[in-house]
């Protein structure tokens, strides 16, 4: 793994995926401002290294489940940016035919189980998917993401207990971006060591620099090896930072502009990987420009597709309430 993470091809691919998420989210923010996207819209900008790093070590069939800040997870696991953007704009061509929106999107073929709007509800759900992996003996892991804010919900510990008790193949990824909506971790949590939240349940945990895609990949691989060997769950605390507000309608009065600026300048996962590629692999500026162009085109294409797609037929109101 360590060797692969030094390979130019791998690093370029990670860079490209992170950049896709960044540009996609910027475009989503823009479309929100234009009234094309409604309701709640939670952007992932700043946290890209986490999903991209983890996705790079998954095996075919491994599942992903997360909260409502989910666009990055979907793009990381290979879902089509056009159909994700179309869902954000509430169009018939979206992953949920326009009926789920930003917070509720799924792809059975990419093993992405949502997109859940209730804080921490995805934690028992992901544990259940892991339960099914064990039941079916398919060797897969469910990567169950939640924020440090969700980590204060009771059902997280109910899930921890069962996951450990039954040795379920689940990696709990706590994306610690320091703020639960507008409440900082210091103001909401009695301890800030999220990776230690599993100690009472005998679940090992590791604090990881979530702004470094290579470290994310390295530690996730260790966690997944632990799970796949039948030892049960593992907690990864990803130290990260979201640049944007909790949602689009967040005035962000709870932190200073300088705080955000400092992180962007010093810790940005995309910039740092770019610097590394330049320094260690002599990648020239032209190559980054080509990547940038390719990613921009893909995002523009997604936005155009979304804006031009038709709204769902009114008859869709009554479909998918029940299945046969």
């Amino acid at each position: 793994m360590k060797k692969i993470l030094e390979e130019e091809k791998t690093l370029i691919s990670l860079y490209k995926k992170m950049l896709l998420i960044r540009r996609f989210e910027e475009k989503a923010g823009q479309l929100y401002g234009m009234g094309q996207i409604g309701g709640f819209c939670h952007l992932y900008i700043g946290q890209e290294a986490i999903v991209v790093g983890i996705d790079s070590i998954t095996k075919n069939g491994d599942q992903t489940i997360t909260s409502y800040r989910d666009h990055g997870h979907m793009l990381a696991c290979g879902m089509d940016p056009k159909k994700v953007m179309a869902e954000l704009t509430g169009k018939a061509t979206g992953y949920s035919k326009g009926k789920g929106g930003s917070m509720h999107m799924f792809s059975k073929s990419k093993h992405f189980y949502g997109g859940h709007g209730i804080v921490a509800a995805q934690v028992p759900l992901g544990t259940g998917i892991a339960f099914a992996n064990k039941y079916k003996k398919n060797g897969n892991i469910c990567f169950t993401y939640f924020g440090e804010g969700a980590a204060n919900q009771g059902q997280v510990y109910e899930a921890f207990n069962m996951a450990s008790l039954w040795k379920l193949p689940v990696v709990f990824v706590i994306e610690n971006n320091q703020y639960a909506m507008g409440t900082s971790i210091e103001r909401s949590s009695s301890t800030d060591a999220m990776h230690a939240r599993g100690i009472a349940f005998n679940i090992p945990g590791k604090e990881v620099n979530g702004m470094d895609v290579r470290e994310v990949a390295k530690e996730s691989l260790k966690a997944s090896a632990h799970c796949r060997s039948g030892k049960g769950p593992y907690i990864l605390e990803m130290k990260t930072y979201r640049y944007r507000g909790h949602s689009m309608s967040d005035p962000a009065k709870y932190r200073t502009r300088e705080e955000v600026q400092k992180i962007k300048e010093e810790k940005d996962p995309i910039d740092n990987l770019r610097d590394l590629l330049i320094k260690n692999h002599n990648i020239i500026e032209k190559k980054f420009k080509d990547i940038d162009k390719e990613v921009k085109m893909s995002v523009t294409e997604a936005a155009n597709f979304a804006v031009e797609s038709p709204e769902p037929d009114i008859s869709e109101l009554w479909t998918d309430v029940y299945t046969n």
Binding site: G100, H104, A121, T127, A132, K136, E158, V321, T323
Partner: protein, 459 residues
């Protein structure tokens, strides 16, 4: 001084039990805390300890005796005399009084129960004339057989919940399943309703078919977010990609003397949620056929059982392929004067009322809804068009009850056929009280049904 040892009541709904084993014999000296006997009920096997100090004189009920009513004298113990100073009332008198009182009470109850049992078995036999080979089966056995058959049929079906495995089920509904299917498919969970409900829903998203047992539906309130927001809505939110084939089942409604937090019918609450199906059976055959259908259904199903009905026997033919359709009501009694629409334990009261009304010359049509969502309005409206009068009977609270919705729909769909307003008979608009008389007053009664019928037919 001789003291009678009485058959104990060991659970809120216990009426009788078996004397499984005696640990003492005449001549033995016993201390308080010594185990006298094993008492077995339909729910559990329990040790019965002495509270007396003395010598066993006689065992009045033989080991192995079944159907011993509570408060029946089962043994006599000679206890050392206590001086008059220790007690103001001579213990002998105290015991005698208590015994006489309880004996009378128990006899009343017994007659009442026998009547009910007789009534239930008569009705079902009448309403299912097509049956040839019939056996008696309790609702508990019916539910147990439904699960076992479906688990044999499909290895994706598993059951999880508190005490479903090694304990054999808090109400013995899952009895024997662990032995047959093993711990990977009969899963004892921690006391973690919110967590294991979410876990079950997640497993169902991948195509497994969990049966999640709530020890009672009162505890499902801890898990209501996962039921409503995750189980019911994900199919819609995913544009039809994700299905959630899961059954949530367990006892619902009032049991007996367990008060407000353990006595509530949740039918109308769940029935208001699109994406859920809601079933509440009355008879054993329906319990079995509908549970099997629920397990095979690809949607989340709320399956509401009733502790009081668990032990009731019904005549029913058992056939592995007998599936009852979800969403279809059933006419249990045909009549021309008034339609009584009910479900669950309400049907028991409705059938009692129907018998008494018949004696007064009033012919009531009794409809057992069986499914609360979707409701079989075709059958209700068809019946109302014939009888022109309707009352609904349920155990729920009155505000936004199932009956109030049925009444509104009858008004919309059969207004010109109505000769009287529809009356909804429900439980009272109060938390369930503990005291015996208050509890009785809070529940629906047969008399209330009869007086409501009289009201709508201007009797």
């Amino acid at each position: 001084m001789k003291v009678n040892i009485l058959m104990p009541s060991l659970s809120p709904t216990m009426e009788e039990g078996s004397l499984a084993k005696w640990y003492v014999k005449p001549g033995d000296r016993v201390q308080p805390g010594d185990i006298l006997a094993d008492i077995e009920t339909d729910k559990a096997l329990m040790e019965y300890e002495s509270v007396e100090e003395g010598v066993v004189l006689e065992l009045s009920i033989a080991e192995g005796s079944e159907n011993v009513k509570i408060n029946t004298p089962i043994a006599v113990i000679e206890v050392e005399s206590i001086s008059q100073n220790d007690s103001e009332i001579p213990p002998n008198d105290l015991i005698k009084d208590t015994q006489d009182d309880t004996k009378t009470a128990y006899e009343d109850q017994d007659i009442n129960n026998n009547e009910k049992k007789q009534l239930i078995s008569n009705e079902i036999t009448h309403s299912e004339l097509t049956e040839v080979n019939t056996n008696n089966i309790t609702v508990r056995e019916a539910l147990n057989h439904a699960m076992a058959e479906e688990m044999r049929r499909d290895e994706n079906v598993f059951i999880m919940g508190e005490e479903v495995g090694e304990y054999q089920g808090a109400y013995k509904v899952s009895q024997g399943l662990l032995e047959e299917f093993g711990p990977s498919r009969v899963i004892d969970t921690p006391i973690t309703e919110h967590g294991f409900t979410g876990l079950g829903v997640g497993a169902a998203f991948t195509g497994l078919r969990p049966i999640v047992e709530f020890m009672t539906f009162n505890f499902a309130l801890q898990a209501i977010d996962q039921i409503i927001n995750s189980a019911a809505k994900t199919h819609y939110m995913s544009g039809g990609q994700i299905t959630c084939p899961i059954v949530f089942r367990g006892p619902n409604g009032a049991a007996a003397r367990v008060a407000a937090q353990h006595s509530q019918d949740f039918s109308s609450l769940y029935a208001s949620i699109p994406g859920l199906k809601v079933i509440q059976p009355f008879s054993a055959a329906d319990a079995k056929g509908l549970l099997k259908s629920a397990i095979r259904d690809n949607n989340p199903v709320i399956f509401l059982e009733n502790e009081i009905l668990y032990g009731k026997s019904f005549s029913a033919e058992e056939n592995e392929e007998d599936l009852e359709p979800i969403g279809k009501a059933k006419i249990l009694k045909t009549g021309s004067d008034v339609t009584i629409v009910s479900y669950g334990i309400g049907v028991m009261h409705a059938l009692e009322a129907e018998l008494k009304l018949n004696d007064m010359g009033i012919k009531a049509e009794v409809i057992d809804l069986r499914t609360i969502r979707p409701i079989d309005f075709d059958m209700i409206i068809g019946s109302v068009k014939k009888t022109n009068r309707c009352i609904t009977v349920e155990e729920s609270f009155p505000v936004c009850s199932v009956g109030s919705y049925i009444a509104s729909q009858i008004m919309v769909k059969a207004f010109d056929h109505l000769d009287a307003p529809v009356i909804s008979c429900t439980g009272k608009d109060v938390p369930m009280p503990y005291a015996e008389n208050l509890e009785k007053a809070a529940l629906i009664t047969t008399d209330e049904i009869i007086s409501s019928v009289k009201e709508v037919i201007y009797f």
